[in-house]
């Protein structure tokens, strides 16, 4: 899977870096915890730019190419920035047969962005996800942590309006 890499400059704060270094210090004794460190790093920064990967590589004592290899292998790791509101449309089978593909296409049209992209104003980013397990509510999408279910294309404008 090709990953979109952020073209916006990295803007990490010293507080974020300090938090990351604490996590690395807690885990550096066991190299097999690399993924756990990367997951927590993503919680701090929202994504894993190469600058953050370099700190992890140095701190955990593994080559940067290994960190990069892991970050590009797993779908959860994002190399591009998320918007203030991150929209994620479930394209799992149960949602797909109930029309989530149409929701996803329509959102791309409305927002004018493609998958894994962020609107120029930084407000919305859009991605597809695989089954969040709320199949009883299919088709579903999430905006940050809020779940919207039993949707049709008609509902999209009203949902977006809540965040504008």
């Amino acid at each position: 899977m090709q990953k979109k890499i952020s073209n916006l400059p990295f803007k990490g704060t010293p507080e974020q870096e300090a938090a990351l270094r604490r996590i690395i210090a807690d885990n550096a004794h066991d190299k097999s915890r690399l993924m756990a460190v990367m997951q927590q790093a993503q919680d701090i920064y929202g994504y894993l730019p190469i600058e953050v990967q370099a700190i992890i590589a140095e701190g955990m004592g593994v080559p940067l190419e290994k960190v990069y290899g892991v970050s590009t292998f797993y779908a959860q790791f994002s190399l591009s920035q998320k918007g203030q509101y991150s929209i994620s449309v479930c394209l799992g089978t149960a949602c797909y047969v109930k029309g989530s593909g149409e929701l996803f296409n329509r959102l791309q049209e409305i927002l004018g962005i493609g998958a894994d992209e962020c609107t120029p104003d930084g407000r919305f980013s859009l991605s597809a996800c695989r089954c969040i397990g709320a199949c009883g509510l299919a088709p579903v999408l999430t905006v940050n942590d809020e779940v919207y279910g039993r949707l049709s294309v008609k509902d999209l404008d009203a949902i977006l309006a809540k965040y504008n």
Partner: protein, 635 residues
């Protein structure tokens, strides 16, 4: 806790908190704490529709009504009938409130909990008889054919309270194993029960343990595969959310049987509730001495850790999962050596799926013969299915092996909604195939499904109706496998990509009949030559749709039509000028400005009708959804 006697004491002391939920028989000689238990589903499905808010509101209203000593509110795992969520059940009546809302809470507290009168209009209507009396839940179509073994405690106990699990015979199996059985006894019981791997492969669990047990090593491991990657399958998540202690107990039993002292649970990071409850359960078990050193004074040590996945489907493959736990890209390794010989950290390892483990404590307590008494000749016990797609009762069901697809879809699942026709059921996710309507009487077990080119998989069962295009479905699954192929071996990395390109060509109306034969040939090649299960099974959705729905492929290729009306390139939207009243709503909503007004005014109408320019149309279908006069057709 140091002894079995202490465990039994704890069970006796806590029984009063759960006995209200156990039915009239159990209540006879019991002395329950309080008068009522209100159970609210805290599974992912119901949490997504805000069951948390219902719990909070219930607690505050109950307090206000002065009922806190009489009524306890329990946040449980999944009840199974996710389509009706959020769900709330009040015991001892067993009243099943469906699509519950926070606004209805004060009324239920006032009328039912305080006044003793069930709010029948808020119940799941199938549980209400015509005379207004309530039918018990196990008499409803959805529940009556179910046999709950793996899901026994889901939706019954509070998963964040170890005492409730203990009150329901929790950790009794571990106690029995450690004090009465040798490791060989345990393996023999599991072997005799006929339990097979529930993750999809169906490998006999007892044999897996027996292969690992004799291998000597300083450290051996038990791994629980909770990387439930099949989209549309959520049984493992529900077990972890609803009954996490049973997995801990089963892993400790497996550890004793094979001589391992360390366990790992590899869970998808997308399952935050499951991870949280499992973490709480592990902590509670440690504090109670049920994990750690010298469990029940037997000299057996066992402890475990959680590792989070990061969204890679291939990590459901056992060797890839182990590579991932070690902190690497989750690429599979060639077998042999099998994990039983050299697995996690190069040590002998047994890896089982969540649902497999969930059966183990019950088999130990109730005996191999009891378990082997359920199911078919070669598939024993029960299987949990996640019903999804075009089906009335979306949710989780557990049924004896050998139940027919017809019973699952039409009786338990309530059939296809909207009067549409059942077309096929898809099992096994991206590795599985479709069972067409004409085989609806197939008895579902491992071997029957394999014999028709399908597979059990982990238990996702997606129902499709006449509006589902089978070519598009095959393409959907191939897009998934192309995305998820780890890239290590060429047949899978390149082969699935070429297969997807051919499917894409067909859905664009550019395919030929020769493409169908070439696709079949390529499928066989990928199956025969891929390194791991992902590649070996990736062609299944294509092969099974080609086998059962070849005429649909032919329609795409020869007639350039998509019979289900899904493949956009083959679609045309048209406005019937005589039905169109010219309101213009379609044109206003059209994202591509493809709709214009004509000069034609139909008899009886005031405005000229609209028309779609098919060269500009992006076939989004928004016009059709918005037309109140059903004047727009697609074909």
């Amino acid at each position: 806790m140091k002894t079995v006697a202490e465990l039994n004491q704890l069970r006796a002391a806590n029984l009063k908190y759960v006995v209200l939920r156990k039915g009239a028989e159990a209540l006879k000689d019991a002395n329950p704490a309080g008068k009522r238990n209100v159970l609210v589903c805290g599974g992912t499905g119901c949490t997504s529709s805000h069951s948390d808010a219902i719990v909070e509101r219930l607690r505050s209203e109950i307090k206000e009504a002065g009922l806190e000593n009489e009524v306890s509110v329990i946040h449980t795992g999944c009840f199974g009938l996710c389509a009706l969520g959020p769900i709330m059940i009040v015991y001892p009546e067993g009243s099943f409130y469906s699509r519950m809302s926070e606004e209805n809470v004060p009324r239920v507290v006032r009328e039912h909990l305080l006044g003793g009168k069930v709010c029948t209009d808020l119940l799941y209507q199938e549980t209400v008889n015509s005379d207004g009396s309530i039918k018990s839940l196990d008499q409803t179509d959805f529940y009556k054919k179910q046999v709950r073994v793996a899901l026994r405690n889901c939706g019954v106990i509070d998963p964040e309270n170890i005492n409730e699990y203990i009150a329901c015979d929790g950790y009794q199996a571990l106690a029995k194993v450690l004090t009465e059985y040798t490791p060989e006894d345990v393996i023999r019981i599991i072997t005799d029960s006929g339990l097979r791997g529930r993750g999809g492969g169906g490998f006999p669990t007892g044999r897996k343990w027996a292969l690992c047990a004799p291998n000597k090593a300083p450290q051996k491991y038990v791994v629980c595969n909770a990387d439930e990657g099949d989209p549309g399958a959520f049984m493992d998540r529900s077990v972890l959310e609803g009954d996490p202690h049973c997995i801990i107990e089963a892993m400790a039993i497996a550890g004793y049987a094979i001589g391992a002292t360390k366990g790992f649970v590899y869970v998808r990071a997308e399952y935050p509730i499951a991870v949280k409850r499992l973490s709480i359960a592990i902590r509670e078990a440690r504090e109670a001495g049920l994990l750690g050193k010298n469990i029940f004074g037997s000299g057996f040590d066992f402890d475990m850790e959680i590792r989070l996945g990061a969204g890679a489907f291939v990590c459901g493959e056992e060797t890839a999962l182990m590579t991932s736990i070690e902190g690497n890209r989750g690429e599979p390794r060639p077998r042999p050596p099998y994990p039983a010989v050299r697995g996690l950290y190069e040590s002998p390892t047994v890896e089982n799926n969540v649902e497999t483990f969930a059966n183990v404590p019950q088999i130990i307590l109730r005996g191999a013969a009891w378990f082997a008494g359920m199911g078919t000749e070669k598939s024993k016990g029960t299987k949990v299915f996640a019903l999804g797609g075009k089906i009335q009762h979306t949710g989780l069901v557990e049924i004896p092996m050998g139940t027919t697809l017809n019973e699952i879809v039409n009786e338990i699942g309530g059939g296809v909604p909207g009067g549409k026709k059942f077309k096929a059921a898809q099992t096994g996710g991206p590795s599985g195939g479709c069972i067409p309507a004409r085989l609806i009487d197939t008895e579902v077990d491992y071997d029957n499904l394999i014999s028709i080119g399908c597979m059990m998989g982990s238990g996702g069962l997606i129902v499709m109706d006449e509006d589902t295009c089978m070519v598009d479905m095959a393409k959907f699954f191939l897009e998934f496998t192309v995305d998820e192929s780890c890239g290590k071996c060429t047949p899978c990395r390149v082969g699935t990509k070429r297969l997807l390109e051919m499917l894409d060509k067909i859905t664009r109306g550019e395919g030929t009949l020769e493409d169908l034969d070439r696709m079949e040939e390529l499928c066989q090649y990928i199956k025969a030559n891929s390194l791991c299960g992902l590649g070996q099974t990736a062609p299944n959705p294509v092969l099974s749709t080609l086998k059962f729905f070849r005429e649909e492929y032919v329609a795409h290729v020869v007639d350039k039509k998509c019979p289900a009306g899904v493949c956009k390139k083959l679609l045309k939207y048209e406005i019937d000028p005589d039905k169109c009243i010219g309101c213009g709503v379609c044109a206003k909503n059209c994202p591509a400005d493809a709709i214009q007004r004509t000069d034609y005014v139909a008899p009886g109408h005031k405005l000229a009708s609209m028309q779609i320019d098919s060269a500009v149309c992006v076939k989004c279908g928004v016009c059709m959804t918005n037309c109140k006069f059903k004047a727009i057709t697609k074909g």
